[in-house]
Assembly symmetry: C2
Homo-oligomer: 313 residues x 2
């Protein structure tokens, strides 16, 4: 066997040892708390599609890889418990990159008490390929689905929208960005505490994370709930920029929570949850249309452009 | 947006719709039977590494993708319940390939009553990339681990060893193979019923599947159990060929079960389980060495060469 192949195998072995240490068996065997349901989500992080090695430091790639899964658990009001990482590595990758990737991922895992319980490793035919599985739990009957919104419910969002897309635009324009300039892009903080608060206090009737962009994710909630929505453009918590509203409406990968609250529960909703500001951005309607209230008092149709926008990368 | 990109997005959307149909939410919400533990396993199937489109029909790739996960559940004595498929597709892939891939995967899923409960889809930068997650369950305290083998236990294997590697050698040599010639390679049948039988009747003290090759997988059992093993070469259920013993010892991807049985339970072991023949191939020892009994009565060290062998592809 030629030497580089051997080196690659040894590297994958080392990573596999790290991944497999917790289990050492064909499957992970996991105990769900009594009276809880299992939550399970899986998300790719593919080089050239979800990240670029020349744009994103390795620890940011590891952080974002896990954050995608954690955000899905947050959007159900659940508790993340275990992560499984499938990781395929190309031959020419420095070991240091792998170490920093794992370090970024494991730091976020520790922060949320999530155990890396297993995974798979392989040689990659082209680029770094990661697939993260996050398993969590939620009290039986407690999961906040996308399908629970009713006409008359108010619409809220956490934090700030359209930040990640601005960072991406600058990266695309060839700018070197310090990750500390756009932490929401490089090290997004999944809104786990917010999701759990909303579930525990039975405040949200429906919830989703804004990973695909507000317009697309709101469409998912409307479709699943059989309702429409009106969004008030002027109150959107957007970053000040020339295209701020467009970014807030369609930019993805913000990992904020978008949720609906029945009118009789609105007075119980704090302004901030776990330190994160909450903004009321509109309400749910009967007519199954998505509409945008403009600053001049007119309304126009709101098209789900989030997913498409990001596919252009 | 140029047309091919749009077409690709539509294709991924269609696949995503199929995958997401069952859940329609951020996570799948799943109910584990009372008194059961969760089993979870994840396995890559990467074009150029685990399969080649010119060698493997699309439905075989889909079948093998799921079979890898099911075999891990079988090796714990568990019941497979849900599958999650992360699938990334390159631009130039015919839709028919995707349909046949899904059809092969879903046919095997139906056979074992496994629900495709979710997944992720993405554009692939290079080749077809799949990652399968299989979640199952096992009665609390019932999982058969790799770590339970004791000195004096007998060593058994299901079915036939070294078949898959022979098929691969012929494919590598440029032969066009009919999948029906080597069903164990193209459509391996995970030994789920055997695993469940062994667990229910408390016959196996340790178990693993032979996905990496007998020598490597036996090493895992020995390491986890803190024991050694002796394998009797002449009784190995090998395919008749020039290199049959080498193939049986080191060829991977057979997805048979390798298990140990305490001496006082051996008489309860049938010759066939769920129609699959069972062969006694050796026993477990105290000295932590892996050894091979040769037909001439001598013994020699047995090195774990399965994984390395397959890495040469």
């Amino acid at each position: 066997m030629p030497l580089p192949e051997r080196q690659l195998i040894n590297r994958i072995r080392r990573t596999a040892d790290k991944l497999g240490a917790a289990i050492g068996d064909d499957c992970a065997v996991l105990d769900l708390p009594r009276g809880h349901k299992l939550l399970l989500t899986t998300d790719f992080s593919l080089e050239g599609i979800h990240f670029r090695r020349e744009w994103h430091p390795a620890d940011s790639v590891g952080h974002r890889c896990l954050a995608r899964g954690l955000s899905d658990i947050a959007a159900m009001g659940g508790i993340p418990r275990w992560a499984f990482l499938s990781l395929a590595l190309p031959g020419a990758l420095p070991q240091r990159w792998v170490d920093n990737f794992m370090s970024g991922l494991l730091k976020l895992a520790r922060q949320y008490n999530v155990e890396l319980a297993g995974g798979d490793t392989a040689q990659s035919p082209h680029g770094v390929l990661a697939d993260i599985v996050v398993a969590g739990s939620v009290a039986r009957g407690g999961a906040v689905m996308r399908s629970g919104a009713k006409p008359g419910d108010f619409l809220y969002v956490t934090g700030q929208l359209g930040v990640s897309v601005v960072a991406l635009q600058e990266l695309r324009a060839g700018k070197k960005l310090k990750p500390s300039r756009y932490p929401q892009h490089f090290y997004p903080d999944p809104r786990i505490a917010v999701g759990q608060f909303l579930r525990e206090h039975q405040l949200a009737s429906a919830m989703i994370d804004t990973s695909d962009g507000l317009s697309t994710d709101l469409k998912h909630v409307c479709d699943e709930s059989g309702v429409g929505a009106v969004v008030d453009q002027i109150v959107l918590p957007a970053l000040p920029s020339d295209e701020s509203f467009r970014h807030a409406l369609h930019g993805g990968e913000d990992y904020e929570l978008l949720f609906t609250v029945p009118p009789d529960r609105v007075r119980r909703l704090p302004e901030r949850i776990a330190g994160i500001p909450i903004t009321r951005i509109g309400g749910m309607t009967k007519d199954r249309q998505l509409k945008l209230w403009m600053p001049d008092g007119t309304t126009r149709p709101l098209k789900p452009e989030g997913w498409q926008h990001f596919a252009q990368r």
